[in-house]
């Protein structure tokens, strides 16, 4: 094992890892927005909008992320959709994770028992107020956990955007192997870096989860 080489390429890989993190964070934030729109459309009592939301989720869930990426990047220009690789990576990631997230959010909201909704409505709260003050605080824990799992999948799937030549972690690794011919050393380092990113995400998710479900363990109100 060529330790010297590993030390030498580490800064380059770390730099590329930041692109992986950057692309993932953007996709997750944008994807959350997509998910909220999908959940909202689904909640409206308007049939065509419900169909659209369900159909969208089915198409995304029924096709590989890899194919979605290739279709948009190489097929997009045919219908006038031209994006640079980084933007394309973010957009496809966001619209992909958005579909899964919408199901996770809907599941979390529906997990709150209907009596909570009724109690809130009987006091005179409207739908939106009930969602804000009563349902969301109780759904938040489950929502954070399921969205967290999806975020981890997204981070790992981001290695696929190397195919459209975004210089992220995996792409950089392949490039370095091309000039050094040391796949074992470099892919090992790459894997370690993915593990670090994934565990950081898990840590953040766990903290957020504990914060959101704090009320279940609290005895006394905090001022």
């Amino acid at each position: 094992m060529d330790v010297n080489l590993m030390v030498e390429v580490t800064p380059l890989l770390i730099k590329a890892a930041w692109i992986t993190i950057d692309i993932s964070i953007r996709a997750i934030i944008l994807g959350f927005g997509v998910a909220c729109v999908l959940v909202f459309l689904r909640s409206l009592q308007i049939k065509p909008l419900q169909w659209f939301s369900r159909g969208y989720v089915s198409v995304i869930r029924g096709t590989p992320y890899f194919v979605q990426l290739l279709l948009v990047f190489y097929g997009g220009p045919t219908i006038g959709l031209t994006m640079d690789p980084f933007t394309c990576g973010v957009m496809v990631g966001a619209f992909n994770i958005g579909a899964y997230m919408s199901e996770a959010i809907r599941g979390a909201l529906e997990s709150v028992e209907s009596g909570q909704n009724e109690a809130s409505r009987s006091l005179g709260f409207g739908r939106l107020q009930t969602l804000t003050y009563v349902v969301l605080p109780q759904a938040a824990g489950l929502m954070i956990r399921s969205v967290g799992v999806l975020a981890i999948v997204l981070v790992k799937n981001s290695s696929l955007v190397s195919i459209i030549s975004v210089v992220e972690l995996t792409y950089q690794a392949q490039r370095l192997i091309g000039s050094t011919y040391k796949p074992f050393e470099i892919f090992t380092l790459t894997a370690v870096m993915y593990i670090c990113i994934v565990y950081a995400v898990m840590g953040i998710v766990e903290l957020a989860y504990r914060r959101a479900t704090r009320y279940t363990t609290l005895v006394k109100r905090v001022q």
Binding site: R121, L123, F125
Partner: protein, 261 residues
């Protein structure tokens, strides 16, 4: 409308109310008037439609036909749609307190916050003012010392008393009780009944769906027996419980009075 009608307006009016779940008609033309300050108990076996009727009063169930009024204002408004109806019903509900069989306290809020949430967010009351009010209502249900505790730390009876305080904090015109003591262990029923008796003394208008015959007889001004979506019999509690006219009422009372003790 003239002013003099206001004083005589019944607090709750239920006129020819019909309700279907699919093909099953659960309310077949119910009429009931609850005058201001009076207490009406509705009894009947499960599936009789009594809970559906109560839930129809604050529109948790949407009735198919008939009219429900609160203090002269029509609750169900088939002529209103969408957001306009939302605004209307939210406003109406602020004047009706509802107590559920399973309490439905908000588990993510402390006892005090459960009570103050609606006054703060719906009436725009300042936190300090709302908390004073909240503590006063918790005191009235005997739980002043539990203000900062979370619902998971309370017994069933305590939860239900908090739920009553939460409803009272909106200073409603009428209180609706949907089998408020049915989910409680027998030894916890009395503490909730005591709170309800206190309300009765203060002349709160109440509509009570209950299985507690002795309690209903004691506090009610009017009792009503429902079966299969119709009112079989109604009357003053003295007459109703000791000498009912209908065979079906007698059967029901016999079963329930004997099984209670």
């Amino acid at each position: 409308m003239t002013i003099e009608t206001k004083t005589d307006t019944p607090m709750v009016e239920i006129v020819n109310v019909h309700k279907k779940f699919g093909d099953l008609e659960v309310l077949k033309g119910i009429n009931l008037t609850v005058p201001k300050g009076k207490i009406v108990s509705i009894i009947g076996s499960s599936g009789s439609g009594k809970s559906t009727l109560l839930r129809s009063v604050n529109h948790l169930e949407v009735i198919d036909d008939g009219v429900i009024r609160l203090d002269g204002v029509q609750v169900n408004r088939p002529d209103m749609k969408g957001l306009a109806f939302e605004r209307h019903i939210n406003h109406i509900r602020q004047n009706m307190g509802m107590v559920f069989q399973h309490f439905n306290l908000f588990p993510h809020l402390s006892t005090l916050d459960n009570v103050t949430l609606a006054p703060r967010k719906l009436k725009g009351m300042a936190r300090k003012e709302a908390e004073e009010l909240g503590r006063e209502y918790l005191n009235r249900v005997g739980l002043a010392d539990k203000a900062d505790v979370y619902p998971s730390r309370l017994s069933g009876g305590q939860k239900q008393r908090v739920a009553i305080a939460r409803a009272l904090a909106m200073q409603p015109k009428v209180m609706l009780f949907d089998e408020a003591t049915s989910a409680l262990d027998p030894e916890l029923v009395e503490e909730v009944n005591l709170v309800m008796r206190d309300l009765a003394k203060e002349h709160m208008t109440m509509l009570i769906v209950t299985h507690e015959m002795a309690f209903a007889r004691d506090v009610s001004d009017w009792a009503m027996f429902m079966e299969g979506g119709v009112v079989v019999e109604e009357g003053t509690p003295d007459k109703f419980f000791s000498n009912p006219d209908h065979e079906r009422t007698r059967n029901f009372l016999r079963k329930h009075l004997s099984s209670q003790h």
